[in-house]
Amino acid sequence: MTRQVTFRRRFINAFMLSLTGVATLLVVSVLFFILGYLLWHGIGSLSWNFFTKLPKPTGETGGGLANAIVGSAKILALATLIGVPVGFLAGIYLAEYSGRTFAFVVRYITDLLNGVPSIVIGIFAYAIVVKPMKHFSTFAGGCALGIMMIPIAVRTTEQFLRSVPTALREGSMALGANKATAIFTVVIPAAKQGLTSGMMLNLARVAGETAPLLFTALGNMYWSAGWSQPSASLPVMIYQYAISPYEDYHQQAWAAGLVLLALVLSINVTARLIMSRGSSLARR
């Protein structure tokens, strides 16, 4: 009887090991698979033209997605300008000033906001920005993405500020600093690695959002001057080109996807580098 039990046990062990191992491999390989696929299909279309020229009608060569790249940049810049300060200051309030119950409530609501589907945020932005302005715009796109950035900014700020040891605050106040001075001269600088990387990850996350932009920035085959015109953006362009019936547009879509992925990955990697360098500097 013992031989059977041992055999069964060993079999289960091996089975679990294989199962979990394969799952892990799957997880790891998916990223490389996507990257590889995009590289394979998109690298051919990356060219000087791609980064500098406007889209050309199908069949014509020499077109690019310069307007989408610039458009994404403008939208993301505006989103950062809206989302980061609001989230940052709210995070400071939660971490440093508020009472326990109020902080809990605000955190809860922030998490709910984070869970709102991005397309709903897009509709919301449409209602409060696009309709009054009476047209789609870069500005509206920036607003939508900015709203999406707020909850993560709040949570990141609060988390990293709370992780700063109380001893530093005490040290600052014991020298005659009032609370605000202590926060801005000691606590925030102490958390700056975490805050910076947190904001970068936040940006990387919204960089790829497509749904909100459909209702706000819409799209544009030409340059979008200023902030109140509709604007092309990388994710929307990928969508539009991918569902088109033209092969050369498909190629451009691959390339755009590659660029977008490269952008997001590099922001991620940089953010993590900042975090790890930071923790070695502050060693005790």
Binding site: P165, A167, L168, E170, G171, S172, M173, A174, L175, G176, A177, N178, T181, T185, V186, P189, A190, L281, A282, R283, R284
Partner: protein, 274 residues
């Protein structure tokens, strides 16, 4: 025959040095009167009345939880940062009620060094200069001079003068604590409070800090809380013994350790309890 050393001189007699009693002079540096302190419903300090002498080292000793740290932190109003606390009674600094003064100005005049050293994650120079800068001193030459002077007074200058721009976190534990002392001294406090400053340090680092306290005594009044009563014996001019939130005995250090008046004090210093 051997010749004598001395000249023939009459010599007047003098009594041995009197043990000077603790001050009850006109205006002591800090005077606490009938101070009671509560954490919620728990009373941590019972009717504390004592005078702290200027330019002397005063130590508070007593077993854990006796209130000595609480009392210390009341003197620079650090206790107010804790929620749900209540205070009755007065503390006067040079005659002024500290609870009526602006809290930041009280903390400028009454500095504090903590049990675990807490240098900011900045450079050594910026750490010491911090107090100056937030109090409005911007002129580069003044800041540099003051930083050097403070580091010299904290017996740290020779060890760090070539690496002022390195992060403070790279220093050893004892050096970091001396850095915190330099940082506190830079704003020229009238009183320096030290809350068990050596409890996390090895004996040699402890000795360096004790020696520097002797050196800076004439610059500032020093109040030190220590759970190591031998440290109080070595260092302090006056010692107060606390027990369960009450001040049991407060006297010249020599009397506390040689001939205390209260039995509880005697039991504590001889190690019978606590």
């Amino acid at each position: 025959m051997a010749t004598p050393h001395q000249q023939l001189q009459p010599i007047t007699t003098r009594p041995p040095a009197e043990l000077t009693p603790p001050p009850s002079s006109a205006v002591p540096k800090i005077r606490a009167q009938h101070l009671n302190f509560y954490y919620g419903t728990f009373q941590a300090l019972h009717d504390i009345t004592m005078d702290i002498a200027a330019n002397q080292i005063t130590a508070f000793i007593g077993p854990s939880g006796c209130g000595k740290s609480t009392f210390l932190r009341t003197m620079n109003r650090m206790n107010e940062a804790v929620r749900n606390t209540r205070r009755e009674g007065e503390i006067r600094l040079d005659g002024e009620d500290i609870f009526k003064l602006d809290v930041a100005s009280v903390r400028r005049r009454v500095g504090m060094v903590f049990q675990k050293s807490n240098p900011f994650p900045k450079t050594i120079f910026d750490n010491v200069a911090y107090g100056l800068r937030i109090n409005g001193v911007r002129k580069k030459s003044i800041v540099e001079e003051t930083v050097q002077l403070s580091l010299e007074r904290a017996a740290l200058w020779t060890e760090v003068k070539d690496k002022l721009n390195k992060p403070a976190g790279a220093l050893s534990g004892g050096q970091q604590q001396r850095l915190c002392i330099a940082r506190a001294l830079a704003v020229e406090p009238e009183v320096l409070l030290l809350d068990e400053p050596c409890s996390a340090l090895d004996p040699i680092a402890t000795l360096k800090i004790e020696e520097l306290l002797f050196e800076i005594k004439n610059l500032t009044t020093i109040v030190i809380v220590t759970h190591n009563m031998q440290q109080a014996a070595r260092v302090a001019d006056y010692t107060g013994f606390f027990l369960l939130g009450k001040l049991i005995e407060y006297d010249n250090t020599r009397r506390i350790f040689q001939n205390p008046s209260k039995k509880e004090t005697e039991d504590y210093v001889t190690g019978r309890f606590g």
